[in-house]
């Protein structure tokens, strides 16, 4: 009996502390503080950018540190469309249908040169930039972009969410026109076996 009571008390104190913290942060930063740290990406991976997207989600780069690790393969559960790779004219209606099916509010990252401009694939079948037909919030350059660059793109979406995330995408107009810069300093990666 005594043991049970003490457990309850400890748990209660813990919960109250955490709740106070959350309430404080929401008072301070608005509901966007919670929303921007819980983006659910829809991985629309059609080419080699998809491999970098997988690397971003895996343990080495670990996009879970930014609250975006819950990738779902149904647009109904997502609010961040990451278009990774070239889109051909047979695939564009699929991309548009996925964008329509995503819940509000929603954001779009155009990842890599092909999704943004068509890249080297300047042929009859490849759409020269998905932003002609789908509203894009953040363009991530690279061929393909490194995971650091994609993470910077997700952080750019977080900055957009922090500014006007609670509004629906209809209210906030056509994006903020942010472009992600690649890291200035080359990132030194170890082999993982250093002493």
């Amino acid at each position: 009996m005594e043991l049970n009571r003490s457990t309850n008390e400890t748990g209660g104190e813990f919960a109250a502390t955490r709740l106070d913290y959350v309430v404080d942060m929401v008072k301070k930063h608005g509901i966007n503080w919670a929303r921007r740290n819980s983006l659910w990406p829809m991985p629309f991976a059609t080419a080699c950018c998809g491999i970098e997207l997988m690397a971003t989600g895996a343990s080495r780069y670990d996009v879970a540190r930014f609250g975006s690790e819950a990738m779902r393969f149904t647009p109904r559960q997502c609010d961040l469309l990451i278009c990774a790779g070239r889109v051909v004219m047979k695939m564009l209606p699929v991309l548009q249908k996925i964008y329509i099916q995503m819940t509000e509010p929603k954001w779009v990252i155009s990842m890599g040169a092909c999704a943004s401009t068509g890249g080297v694939f300047d042929t009859y079948a490849v759409v020269q930039g998905i932003d002609q037909f789908v509203p894009v919030d953040v363009y991530v350059p690279g061929c393909p972009p490194r995971p650091e660059t994609l993470i910077e793109g997700i952080m750019a979406v977080q900055r957009i969410v922090a500014e006007d995330g609670v509004k629906t995408s209809k209210e906030r107009g056509r994006g903020l026109g942010l472009v992600v810069q690649p890291p200035r300093q080359p990132v030194q990666l170890g082999t993982g076996f250093e002493q």
């Binding site: 009859y124 079948a125 020269q128 002609q132 789908v134 209809k170 107009g173 056509r174």
Partner: protein
Amino acid sequence: MATADAVQALQERFPDLGIEPRPLMRYLNGKPSDQLWVRVPADRLLEVLTFLRDDERTKFEALADLGGIDYLNYPDAEDRFAVIYNLLSHTHGHRLWVKVFVNDPDPEIPSATSVWKGAEWPEREVFDMFGIRFPGHPDLRRILMPQNFVDYPLRKDYPLHGKGEREAFEVLTRDSA
């Protein structure tokens, strides 16, 4: 048994076609390749292919590949299109290329699906890319391009950037979706 024996059997069976084997290519030192191709008229094609599949000396059980060529603006070309059948014999271990030439308008070649089942999808691809029809094909639809596409994109007179098909989509805005 080499490819030359298969060609000889073909010449003995079809003396009226005037079949003459030609090397598929020449190496840089001028030496001809030992891989051979033969030219066959379109109206006798199925007869020849069935013979090549069934005869003991040829025995081409497999159609390894089937593709199209557009010879528009090609030097010394007499015909507009060609369809190439790449035949492979597992029994004898030899190959033979059979070329059929066709011309505008309405290029047509009898379908090889009755000889090799595997010709179905390559013939759909040739139809999709070059507009060559294959009478006798069970299901001649486009295989790569969308069904509402009207042109044949691998023809040489089709522009590399297309005729605006890649821009012809509904624009989704934040207000509309």
